[in-house]
């Protein structure tokens, strides 16, 4: 595409993170700002914008998922059965 695309990120309120909002096509940063202000701020819906040329964005989308990595995630741990056994041994197994 001959015309540069600027991705627009907007912050809705103080304390919120910037979120991707859309894009504008503009020849330079001044036009991108003027037009993004209009498209993403004319109704007071944003307190801040980031404008980033699409080319400056590095896309990261693939992850290796070959081995069992559950040891380092919450879903790799199921402690119910062992906890029950430990409580019974200690005599503290109550109802439920």
């Amino acid at each position: 595409m001959s015309h540069p695309v600027w991705e627009v990120f907007r912050k809705e309120r103080r304390g919120q993170p910037f979120e991707h909002a859309g894009s504008v096509v503009a020849p330079d940063a001044d036009f991108a700002e003027a037009w993004a202000r209009e498209q993403y701020g004319r109704r007071g819906e944003s307190v801040a914008l980031w404008l980033v040329p699409r080319d400056a964005i590095r896309d990261v989308e693939d992850w290796a998922d070959e081995f069992d990595l559950k040891y380092r995630r919450v879903d790799g741990y199921s402690i119910k059965a062992r906890l029950k056994e430990a409580r019974e041994r200690a005599g503290t197994a109550g109802p439920g």
Binding site: A26, D30, F31, A34, W35, E38, Q39, R42
Partner: protein
Amino acid sequence: MNEQALLGLADDELVLGWRDSEWTGIAPMLEEDVAFSSIAQNEIGHARAVYELVAGPEGDADALAFDRKPEEYRCAPLVELHLLDWARTIARRWLYETADEIRITALKDDSDTAVAGLAAKIDREEAYHRMHAEMWHERLGGEPRFRAAVEELWPYALGVLPGELRGELMSRVGLAEVDAIERGTHTEELEPLWQEMTMVRRSAPAGAQW
């Protein structure tokens, strides 16, 4: 600032806002359509605020805006011109914003605190208009038709300001003094504009609600 001068400011903003909104749907790019629309809304908003000030708490801003005869309006001829080509439209925007900044800056020091306060609010909103006009001025500055438009509209631009503020305008725009097209007379464009602007309002008796 006296009432006549305030009406001049309000009428300038009303009529220019009307002209700027003529670009709705037909601006060179959609983004500019949206930007121009914001500028037009701001201008109408400024006009409304000044009319409200002049009309006072018991008065009717809409009546001031719409119910006078064309010859009673105090707008400068510059804003009346029908300029539906982009070079001349942007030239007018740039010249008007430059002149208006000078006028508003002076108004911020007005002895009437209500006027000074309103001028400060207008000034803050117009910062975006100036940014927009400057951006286009930089982009089109080299285009022959833009430069020709600035020269053509220059006498009208001078007429926006009272004599004592014109020196400042000349130095900012970088053009020498010429005979100004003065405020106080109207172009033949105002009458058809007024007819269209008021046709719905005039179709019902005065005081009808809309």
